[in-house]
Amino acid sequence: MTTKFNNVYIDECYTIASIYEKDGPISDYFDLIYDKDFYYGCDTFEKAEEKMLSNSISKLINRAKVIDSDVDYVISGDLENQIASSNYAMRDFNIPFLGIYSACATFGQGLLLGANLIEGKRANKIIVATSSHNMVAEKQFRNPTEYGAPKKKSTTWTATGAASMLLTNRKKRIKITSATAGIVQDKGIKDVNNMGAVMAIAAADTIKRHLSDLKIKADYYDLILTGDLGIYGKNILIDYLKDSGIDLSKNYDDCGLILYDIKKQPVYAGASGPVCSALVLCSYILKEMERGKYQKVLIVPTGAVFNSTKVFQKDSIPSIAHAIGLEVIN
């Protein structure tokens, strides 16, 4: 189902990035880069992620010149068990909080829910946020962080950082025009080191439904972005949608390939993690939309919504993707 919005705008954003993002092609667009180490001045990686998220929200609040009580909700999620970074970071604020989880598609889900609440006049200002931390994700889903096992080429690299965005019902330059909620897809792939292949099907389904619901073609948008498919997932998606008559060869890219330069950086197939699409959207894309490079953008964060126990029990990996349409108002 695709919802259209008439009254939802993007007010301000705040992004915090780390070492690998600094070495990437869009590092000039971030608001804050902490590149000393992965600890962000804390004594554990988990606390570092929580503090990054908390800082990005408080700096967003300062930048937008609002106070806690002006914000109706914060909607946030991350990769940690029990979305710990979000739940713990929200101790610092006096704002009603909704914790969500769609793995790396979390930011898309947050925008969809936030935009619906504002459009339905249930809220005036909503902050949507997310974070991820390479080391926290490694520990959670893979091996101890210092453990070095040879990695596959199709592996993606979890980005480190936090991003938050303030949505409002007051008119601003960039408007959220539409959103399509994802349907969980599963093609029976069990390889946790090939997330691009796991998630491309979810992106394909959501993009297909979005375009047909709105009765538009792919070239309606100046840019279509998927979240973190990586180079191999990107190729699968382009080829797969060609069969459905959707041509993505001209105006499509993947945030995982914008955030990192896979030719120069040791990140295998590209960036991943909930903050991957959020960092790219809240920094590079929105700034370039304001400068006039893009008028209409469709962002489709993709998530592999798997569970480590189920993976060990040899179940296949489900995935989801949510699409959000953005437009510059003249």
């Binding site: 210092e146 040879p150 080429k153 093609k187 792939i189 090939n194 699968i236 080829d239």
Partner: protein
Amino acid sequence: MKDRYLELVSKYTPKENILKNAVVTFLAGGILGTLCELLLRGYMMWFSLSRSESGVMVILTLIVISSILTALGVFDYCVSKLKSALIIPITGFAHSITSAALEYRKEGLVLGIGANIFKLAGSVIVFGIVSVYVFGIIRLLIMGG
């Protein structure tokens, strides 16, 4: 008929370079083995040890070196270059234990390090002991002890 999507997945998923990885592992592992043999002879000469005593010293040396490299954060980088040459010998075993210990230190001595230190190495120990029993029994039956 095979699913079109899965066809595309196998078309675009990159093939791992098994031959190259195997050659790197063989060469790097071989060099490591040669160095260890030299060290073994060295220990026998310098400390007048027997060959088996010297072998234990070599193993201890490898464990210490790989643990220190793990703590310094360079062992995982070495593995990405030298592949399984560092994972299969005792260096990989020591690395798995040290990396787990480092990771869980912040969760306390008992419930952190104690409970998690064998997270990766545990299965090596379990199946190592089981296979020792199995082969021990086979040896007893065939060779009489």
